[in-house]
Amino acid sequence: MSGFFTLLYKEGLRFWRVWFQTVLAPIITALLYLLIFSHALSKHVQVYPGVSYINFLVPGLVMMTVLQNAFANSSSSLIQSKITGNIVFMLLTPISYLEFFLAYMLASMFRGLIVGSGVLLGTLLFAPEYFHAPLLSLLFAMLGGGMLGALGIIAGIWSEKFDQLAAFQNFIIMPLTFLSGVFYSLHSLPAFWWQVSKFNPIFYAVDGFRYGFLGVSDVSPGISLLVVTTCFVALSSICLILLQRGYKLRY
């Protein structure tokens, strides 16, 4: 397992070396969202009875940050290693495909959790939060981070150029995260879009995470947990199959 721990350490060190870009910048971005949306909408929108808009918004922003950063970590690390060629240093070693997957996925999850924690701490300055079931929120953050970390591995393996990865990020990840109920309740949508949104797994990650704060949600947290866990397992399985076959890594 030493190879696994070294790869995990290397992946952690990699993003920590550029913390200004990988940790601080997304925290500032999330806080700006909070500042603007809460200022613009807090007097006009009340999503759940007895819950202010800013208290509704904070968990969504935290989870969105966790998910986006988890995806960014594994996908950018892999595409950089492939393009610069240094992925060969890992491929020449006895590290198994399972260890490879776990190291990249966990490093992504850690980055998501670190940046998400930074956003949460920052938002507490604006709005004291409720913590209805914090461990459930942590579980959703870990599963969501793992799910997007695994999706990042798939994108990193599949992409051969930076613009392919950018397309993945801009046309899949961004719409899914922005249309996942971070800024609004899905109940406020017309019936058609509410049905469409039910197919977005990120909605369940955000909704379940928010339940841990507020104790209210759009769908039952049990259903959200089931959907997020299923997606995490499915994406992890795809990663393992790709890595075991050496898809676009071992020719």
Partner: protein, 300 residues
């Protein structure tokens, strides 16, 4: 009986319709210093990539120290250190960090003594705490060699390790590699510098279009190429018609003639004397690996 360092059996590799390797079989014994030669695109890198697990053979099998590179890949990769041809590096780390991380991948946690030794032997010690980004191309190449050696592999494969590096590195690198070979490490080398292969390697395989076209001891290959070369500087600079068929090439300094044995020199001298041509300079050279290479590639 100990297993061969490398055993390659009936390897085929195709990329789509392109056949990169065609039924390649090769055994390299432990302790050998072996050269894999061939023109660009002959399949050398593909073959050693199969050994290292970077490429998967379409059919056939490969073993490193008796371990199959597919079924027993963990053991096979522990036995193999490979210096890749591409100048890859991780820009996030220093030289020492890169070597510690590489050690960790092989399960070696306290490897600093050996890392210090390789850094010293490869002239990298003073660069140990510098970021990889800041190193020159030659220095990066040295780090690639160091990374391949962190786990003290019994089999070391170097894919064109001296491409584009200065004379000093070449000499210090080969001295270090020779010492590793003397200590029992098997060395497999691909290079376009044939004089390096001739000086260092006991045995040579030549690949052309994915097939092995020559496999023998270096000395035997040199013997098999019977042609010697007679270099003549003449006054006047004009070769008699009777000797024109022997011309290998002509330079501004004179003529190089092909001969198959030293006995042929005397008749040539007679022809020159009869034509009234004086010899200002004369030298004889034996065939080198480049001659063998050109001859084999030409006829294969």
């Amino acid at each position: 009986m100990s297993s061969p360092a490398i055993q390659i059996s009936h390897i085929h590799k195709s990329f789509g319709h392109f056949q990169a390797l065609l039924d390649v079989s090769l055994t390299i014994e432990q302790g050998e210093f072996f050269a894999l030669l061939g023109p660009n695109g002959a399949g050398k890198t593909t073959l050693i990539s199969i050994l290292a697990g970077l490429t998967r053979a379409t059919s056939g099998s490969a073993q490193v120290m008796g371990h199959c590179v597919i079924d027993d890949y963990k053991a096979a990769r522990r036995e193999l250190g490979m210096v890749p041809q591409e100048l890859a590096y991780d820009p996030f780390f220093t030289v020492r960090e890169s070597l510690r991380i590489q050690s960790g991948y092989f399960g070696l946690r306290h490897n600093d003594d050996w890392i210090d030794e390789i850094l010293t032997r490869l002239g990298l010690f003073e660069k140990a705490d510098m970021n990889m980004r800041t190193l020159s191309g030659g220095m990066k190449r040295r780090v690639l060699v160091a990374q391949a050696l962190v786990h003290k592999p019994p089999v070391i494969v170097l894919d064109e390790p001296t491409a584009g590096v200065d004379v000093e590195l070449r000499q210090s690198l080969w001295e270090f590699i020779r010492q590793l070979n003397s200590a029992g490490h098997t060395i497999v080398l691909t290079t376009h510098y044939l004089e390096e292969a001739e000086t260092l390697c006991e045995r040579v395989a030549m690949l052309k279009q994915g097939k092995i076209v020559a496999l023998d001891r270096t000395a035997n290959l040199l013997k098999s190429c019977g042609e010697m070369k007679l270099h003549l500087t003449l006054n006047p600079d004009s070769l008699p018609e009777t000797l024109q068929s022997r011309v290998y090439h002509k330079t501004e300094h004179g003529y190089t003639l092909k001969i198959s044995s030293p006995e042929e020199i005397e008749p040539i001298l007679v022809h020159l004397r009869e034509a009234g041509v004086h010899i200002d300079d004369l030298s004889l050279s034996h065939p080198d690996l480049e001659d063998v290479f050109v001859q084999i590639m030409g006829r294969a």
